[in-house]
């Protein structure tokens, strides 16, 4: 009897689990149709962009799902465009510097929030996060005024500073949850092993928080790379104009002010999406892990 008894409660469990498993494997055709629909829905605009970028300017208006006379001329043209090339350079600088600074400063802030005991810690974290709730349009004009006074309009640093104010809260938040999960013992072990506090941070905490830093860095890079509103408000020439702002200005420059260079815009848009697509695909797992870290363990 007693040997049979333990087996009994196990069997309903198995029976319960197996249908769940079948569902999870996703063999249901309804699910597949759903997935295909969602993927098409999401990717169709991007496909449309790509196929427009492959059309000649005469074919732009032709109603077809594919380019009648596919050509790469838009791509070679866009690289001849000084505004675009300067924009690429500006974007690369602004996004990279913003990312590095935001991860550096954010990790110091997050470390303090995660480790040190001080009054009002929660309030500070809440305040930091509340910064992200301001719509950029609300601060674009004040910053423009301020920058005019300070002479920071149309400079790269004039873009990096406001970008940091938006990127830092997110970076700090993500990294705080990462640092919290690193056991205190590890740092203390480093301290008794002869490390200074900073060495313990650099050699033990930072390597362990690297996935969080990668996540925060990528999200910051994407934000700074794509940002449009502040970019058009705070720049006036190709000296500081980033790529999204430069593309937005193709209307006025490339076509002599009246023709809309739709093919050119499409090609430029495809080009600037590529680095982000590569980045996200390469770090897909880390980004998801980074966003859920802390949330699961609470």
């Amino acid at each position: 009897m007693s040997t049979v008894a333990p087996a009994r409660p196990a069997s309903p469990e198995v029976a319960e689990r197996s249908p769940k498993k079948r569902k999870g494997q996703g063999t249901s055709p309804v699910l597949w149709i759903g997935v295909v629909f969602v993927v098409l829905f999401c990717l169709f605009p991007f496909y449309w962009l790509v196929q427009i970028s492959l059309r000649t300017s005469q074919d732009i208006g032709v109603a077809a799902l594919y380019p009648p006379n596919p050509t790469l001329s838009n791509y070679s043209d866009v690289f001849q465009n000084d505004d675009f090339v300067a924009g690429l350079r500006n974007s690369a600088i602004v996004a990279t510097v913003t990312t590095l600074l935001s991860v550096l400063v954010g990790s110091f802030a997050a470390y303090a929030l995660a480790r040190l005991r001080f009054r009002g810690k929660f309030t500070i974290l809440a305040l930091i996060l509340s910064v992200t709730t301001f719509p950029p349009i609300a601060i674009a004009l004040p910053i423009f005024q301020l920058w005019t006074d300070l002479g920071l309009n149309n400079t790269l640093i004039g873009l990096i500073i406001p970008y940091l104010t938006f990127a830092l809260p997110l970076t700090t938040y993500i990294l705080t949850s990462f640092f919290r999960e690193i056991p205190r013992d590890l740092e203390e072990a480093a301290l008794v092993d002869g490390a200074t506090r900073f060495q313990a941070f650099r050699k033990v905490v930072v390597p362990l928080a690297a996935p969080g830093m990668a996540t925060a860095g990528i999200l910051t890079f994407i934000f700074a790379w794509n940002e449009y509103l502040l970019a058009i408000t705070l720049t006036t020439s190709k000296a500081a104009r980033t790529v999204p702002a430069a593309i937005g200005n193709f209307n006025d420059t490339a076509g002599g002010g009246y023709a809309q260079p739709v093919g050119l815009i499409a090609a430029a848009s495809v080009l600037i999406s590529i680095p982000l697509i590569i980045l996200v695909l390469a770090f897909q797992k880390r980004i998801v892990a980074g966003l859920t870290a802390g949330a699961v363990k609470g």
Partner: protein, 400 residues
Amino acid sequence: MARIELRGIHKRYADGFHAVKDLNLDIPDGEFMIFVGPSGCGKSTALRMIAGLEGISEGELLLDGEVVNELEPKDRDISMVFQSYALYPHMTVRQNLAFPLRIAGRPKDEIETRVNEAAAVLQLSDHLDRKPANLSGGQRQRVAMGRAIVRSPRAFLMDEPLSNLDAKLRVQTRTELARLQRRLGTTTVYVTHDQTEAMTLGDRVAVLNAGELQQVGTPRDLYAHPRNIFVAGFIGSPAMNFIAAELQGGEIRTARGDLPVNDWWRERLTGASPNQSVILGIRPEGFSDAALEEGTGPEFDVEIEVVESMGSDLFAYFSPESTGARSQSLDDLAQQSGLGDATASRPGEQLVARLDPMSRVAVGQHARLRIDTSHIALFDPETGLSLADHESTAPTLTSA
């Protein structure tokens, strides 16, 4: 190599909690010192103050005669093994072992030799390129030990380093640890809540309770001459039996019968008032089965309630005739040490005798037990203190 002295050390945490109270200890160079006590008694706090991980609220900590209260952990040259081992998960075993040396900026070839030596001593040579996640519990424990010994520090601190191992491995590692410490001869402070570990490992044992040092001495000394009820009940397994009694006319009167006071005790009880009530402490091995052998000494009839045969020993449980010994210290003991849970009853409510395995005692039957009066202890029920001046080296009262 270092002598560690603690002079009147207090720890008050930021929330006002007084975790360590007036701790005075002198740990000579090369000694294996154990801090033992129930969970939450301040052992780790004391150890972390020695390491420099926790500030000292009051008092002085001396290393080789030099006050080091304000010294950073890195400048104390003391290594520590954490209960969690605290291995660096992103480093291989080799990198973990090399970490203290690399931080100290030692030359590469010296690091290599030292790491290889430490790995050989701890049988880790085959695992040097593995990450901690891929090691067994015992291997992780040895890496933690290796990281502590690799730089030949002035002292080792260990916070319950064996508590994450299973019982068998724990006993084995315990022996290896004792051997290693003896070979290196490095001053060691070892924290544990397990009195067996404390008794088997240390040169000396410091018993702590509620942040206060209860007694410090050799394991033998603590067992034979507990200074108070707490130490008496905490050290030894099964725990000492406590029985309410009264001192009357040179006799110890209990509900079970009277015991003569032996010469050793008579000398020490001169100050006791007549009819003073006391708590009588008898170790389980202080009883023997009168049916087995001839002998002298008072005998009692008891009804056996539980018998546990361990092969080499036989434990017989019975109840005292009366309601059992009552005292504030006993209540504290039961509460703080969790002894009450371990024996399924509060101390004093059930008595246990360790008998010869040949004994025929059986559950529900009466047995005649003899008491070896040289194995008794007497405590003041008010203060919980031993009525003996425990400092004097006594000829009797040693464990068999």
